[in-house]
């Protein structure tokens, strides 16, 4: 297998997540959207692109056989080798935003770039060949930032991060701030596929996948503890649920004795807080987690949260989501699924169908094929 394909693309647990956690909700939303327009999808798909071809195979995304293209998909990628390949397999030249997602989304003007508020002014400024490389990069990042922002809203935003939701300091909140931006941008009217028409989404899906292990930064731990405390102060129902249902009376003891449960119970609150801020009603549709072992044989956990956001009618969503995250029974632990077990075989069979579709496209475009799982 070419070394470049992401290591876990054919992992049965990962595919279980795709199939049972992402797909049903995407299909359900698609049926509601399809009367008015095409389904719009944003992904961090990497070159295996299983999620894209799964949605295409299931008819959630439109595959246009005239131009061999999966329509209305946008992705972000910073690898210069993978970027053209993913674009090509999608079949739409401007499907990608080149760069690191957080860097593009969280772009902030400095005094220099602030002078160029529009795409036209940026292009004009970049026409100055004498512009030093740092300034040039700043303006180019701003340009991609504006393009990315302009591409919103989407029906399904799939943020399958490879890393932590809270990366190591100094900037533990950069992912959270990225999600913050997305929830903000989702409120805007976007450009539709028919020239002149504007798109607004009233509900959409967001999936966030991240890892958790013992390297969880203390700063993040402290932040989440403070959020729990604040919740307990302002929401008696939350406090009651925590004490009665989860039997947590000592927050520090909870953190010390059940770090993993503490993380899984609390980080979704970050997203629900943001939702509240942008007046989205958040509902957790699926919450799965599973174990992995890294190359140094150290265990870590993958957590995936799938939420539906609806334009707010009342503000009950925040508390419901926060309590839902506390509820262990609402979390689905995906235990090991052996490839040779009936369940594993079933998942691999499904995955094989997706790989086949993906490889047909890769063959047409003369790109490396994924091996059959």
């Amino acid at each position: 297998m070419p070394a470049e394909f992401d290591k876990w693309w054919d992992d049965t647990k990962k595919h279980y997540k795709r199939l049972h956690c992402w797909l049903p909700h995407a299909k359900e939303l698609k049926t509601r959207v399809s009367n008015t327009r095409a389904f719009r999808y944003f992904t961090l798909c990497a070159r295996s692109m299983i999620d894209v071809f799964m949605l295409a195979k299931e008819g959630v995304l439109i595959y246009d056989s005239n131009q061999d293209a999966v329509m209305h998909v946008r992705f972000c990628e910073s690898d210069i080798e993978q970027f053209p390949e993913i674009s090509e397999l999608i079949g739409i030249e401007n499907a990608g935003f080149f760069g690191e997602l957080e860097k593009l989304v969280l772009f902030q003007d400095n005094d220099f770039s602030a002078q160029y508020p529009t795409l036209e002014s940026i292009d004009d400024a970049l026409a100055d060949e004498g512009l030093v490389i740092e300034k040039r990069e700043t303006l180019q990042t701003k340009r991609t930032h504006l393009y990315a922002k302009g591409s919103f809203p989407y029906d399904f935003i799939n943020l399958d991060f490879c890393g932590y939701y809270y990366p190591k300091p100094p900037d533990i909140l950069k992912i959270n701030r990225t999600v913050d931006k997305f929830l903000d941008w989702q409120r805007q009217y976007g450009n539709g596929e028919i020239s002149g028409s504007k798109i607004q989404v009233n509900d959409f899906l967001l999936s966030v996948t991240c890892r958790h292990d013992d390297d969880f930064p203390q700063e993040a731990e402290k932040r989440l503890a403070e959020l729990v405390k604040a919740n307990c102060r302002t929401h008696p129902d939350y406090k009651r649920y925590l004490e009665e249902n989860r039997r947590v009376s000592d927050l520090n003891a909870w953190i010390q004795n059940a770090k993993e449960d503490f993380f899984l119970s609390t980080w979704p609150k970050e997203i629900s807080r943001l939702a509240e801020q942008y007046q989205w009603d958040m509902e957790i549709l699926g919450y799965v987690h599973y174990d992995r072992v890294n190359e140094e044989n150290q265990p870590y956990k993958i957590a995936c949260l799938v939420c539906r956001f609806t334009r707010i009618s009342d503000d009950s969503g925040y508390l419901e989501a926060a309590i839902c995250a506390l509820d262990q029974s609402r979390r689905n632990f995906i235990s090991d699924i052996g490839k040779n077990t009936p369940k594993g075989q079933e998942l691999l069979k499904n995955l094989a169908g997706i790989v086949q579709l993906r490889n047909q496209q890769a063959k047409r475009k003369r790109r490396p094929l994924l091996p059959m799982p």
Binding site: P2, E4, E81, P84, E93, N94, D123, I133, S195, R366
Partner: protein, 580 residues
């Protein structure tokens, strides 16, 4: 006593900037270099992505042999332009036996035309080495350089004046499945982006969608309706695709309206050679092919209704200064179903083992049709060296010295150079040195062929055809006039006869009117030499019109009263002018 020993002459960065950014006349001319590099590296495909329609990234990848770390370092450290890729004129590649195009190793420099910085990743099959490098060109244009120099401290000036850019190199692990070269940049020059982003004339304004097939692109190019029918009427992006498709060593496009030249045995063989190179170029998911439709489709006259006739030899004398040479071409008449027009196709070949001490050999074809070829960009001559187009079609046909009027626009030539011409190529590999003996000999061949064979034949044919057309038109006008005259006067006439008055037995011409209406014979006789009308009918161009007005006058004059005379005359005048 000499003042010093030999010392290297330094190249100013300003000059470097000038050469690299102003080397190629079009973006296609620059990007073509990358395609040539891939071709030379035995790649099966070159994939180019322009980031249409934003054009904020550009990538070019191939699956060829790759560039070795050593080769890259040598180019960077010993100087761009020191490639040893091709030392022999007839060098070929190892896998597909392709004639090697590159010689100087300046392909990388071509990127300076479109970007200020790029990254290159190469996995080299033979040496099993791989590297990743970032190359930064001097960021200045000719004008900017002076501005920058003014801002810089004196100490830095010296450095700027010798630096041709900078690079950063990283050795990476070789992976056989990644063999080839990948180039990527997000640092595109705004001058390039601006041109590409102006899509107001994209796709002949038929669609704003990316081309789904190459045929759709061809439809846009060959569907230009404006009078000049030039590619300049399309977007720069369209011109880029056309330029690359034309320049690259690719087989001809065989769909759509078709190309009659491909029926020629010589081009069928040439097509096989191109196909055996097994080389594809994709630009933004579009697989390119040589974008030629011949003939140009006028009133359904496409290659599908053309048939090549039997060839015959045409001889002519090639005069190159004191050198005189009898040479020949093969002419294939092209018959067209349902039309009396005849186009021609000529097979050209030339070999001389000693043109200024070196052999010169080329072959090619010349297509000639009645009526202009379009788009205008396929009129004239295109020279291919090792199957790569040098520049674009030269509508001036190597500065053809004679005035031939519109006949220029009716010929399209492609010349394939088999040997020679190496020193005729300018450094941009996009144009020729007009003083090179091989260039001069080829030009002489083409000019002699055009002047002695093609244009005289076209001229004679055109004259005959025009005469035929004029006669047909005159006959149609006459019958329409007679019909109108008969209807208005209620007298049946069948034809106009040109006769002399004396044949009607008169003593003197001036005794009788110049026009005689014979209702029995159903003829109108007109004496063109009659003194009263001779002057009126003298100008051939207006003779028929004048004649009809005279007939109308004479016939109206025969009416009994003034009112009726006026009525008939005006009515007939109306018929004459409405039938024009």
């Amino acid at each position: 006593m000499p003042l010093n020993d030999w010392k290297p002459i330094k190249l100013s960065a300003k000059v470097f900037g000038h050469i690299s950014q102003g080397l190629y006349r079009t973006p296609a001319g620059a990007i073509k270099e990358l395609i040539s590099n891939s071709f030379d590296a035995d790649a099966s495909v070159t994939k180019i992505h322009t980031g249409f329609p934003y054009f904020d990234t550009f990538s070019c990848e191939d699956d060829g042999r790759g560039m070795s770390l050593d080769e890259f370092q040598r180019l960077m450290e010993h100087g761009i332009g020191t490639s040893y890729k091709r030392t022999l004129d007839n060098a070929i590649t190892e896998i597909y036996n392709r004639p090697i195009i590159g010689r100087l190793g300046i392909g990388i420099l071509s990127l300076a035309q479109i970007c200020t910085q790029f990254e290159i990743i190469s996995h080299h099959k033979e040496s099993k080495t791989a590297f990743k490098a970032t190359i930064q060109f001097p960021p200045y244009t000719k004008q900017d350089m002076d501005k920058i120099l003014q801002k810089k401290e004196e100490a830095e000036k010296e450095e700027l004046l010798v630096q041709g850019g900078q690079y950063r190199l990283e050795k990476i692990n070789y992976q056989p499945e990644k063999a080839g070269v990948k180039i990527f940049t997000k640092f595109l020059r705004e001058s390039f982006r601006k041109r590409m982003k102006n899509l107001s004339n994209y796709g002949n304004k038929i669609s704003t969608e990316p081309y789904k097939t190459f045929e759709k692109f061809m439809n846009a190019v060959y569907g230009i309706k404006q009078k000049t029918r030039s590619l300049n009427l399309l977007s720069d992006y369209d011109q880029l695709i056309f330029g690359l498709a034309l320049a690259a060593p690719l087989p001809y496009f065989e769909g759509g309206q078709g190309n009659i030249t491909l029926q020629m045995p010589f081009l069928r063989d040439y097509k096989k050679i191109l196909t055996n190179y097994k080389f594809d170029v994709e630009v933004d998911n579009l697989t390119l092919a040589r974008p030629i439709y011949l003939p140009s489709n006028r009133e359904g006259r496409t290659a599908q209704v053309c048939r090549l006739g039997k060839p015959s030899a045409k001889e002519f004398i090639l005069r190159d200064g004191p050198h005189k040479e009898k040479t020949k071409v093969m002419q294939y008449p092209i018959n067209m179903e349902g039309a009396d027009e005849q186009f021609s196709l000529y097979e050209l070949s030339y070999f001389n083992k000693n043109v200024s001490g070196r052999p010169l050999e080329f072959s090619g074809y010349l297509f000639q049709q009645t009526g202009r070829l379009y788009p205008r960009d396929i009129q004239g001559i295109l020279v291919r060296l090792r199957n790569v187009a040098i520049g674009s079609y030269d509508a001036d046909i190597m500065t053809y010295p004679y005035a031939e009027g519109p006949r220029y626009s009716m010929v399209s030539l492609e010349l394939f150079v088999q040997s020679g011409f190496e020193d005729a190529l300018n450094i941009d590999r996009d144009s020729f040195n007009g003083l090179d003996p091989h260039y001069i000999r080829t030009r002489t061949f083409v000019h002699s062929l055009l002047h002695e064979v093609i244009f005289p034949e076209t001229w004679t044919e055109e004259k005959a055809r025009n005469k035929q057309r004029r006669e047909k038109l005159a006959s149609e006008r006459e019958s329409s006039f007679i019909k109108a005259l008969s209807k208005t006067t209620k007298e049946a006439y069948a034809r106009i006869e040109h006769t002399e008055t004396k044949q009607r037995g008169a003593a003197s011409r001036s005794d009788l009117p110049p026009i005689h209406f014979d209702r029995v014979a159903k003829t109108i006789e007109i004496d063109k030499a009659h003194p009263s009308i001779q002057k009126i009918l003298r100008r051939k161009k207006h003779a028929q019109l004048a004649e009809q007005i005279l007939i109308a006058f004479e016939r109206a004059n025969r009416e009994p009263n003034e009112a009726r005379r006026r009525e008939v005359f005006y009515k007939l005048l109306g018929d004459i002018f409405s039938g024009m």
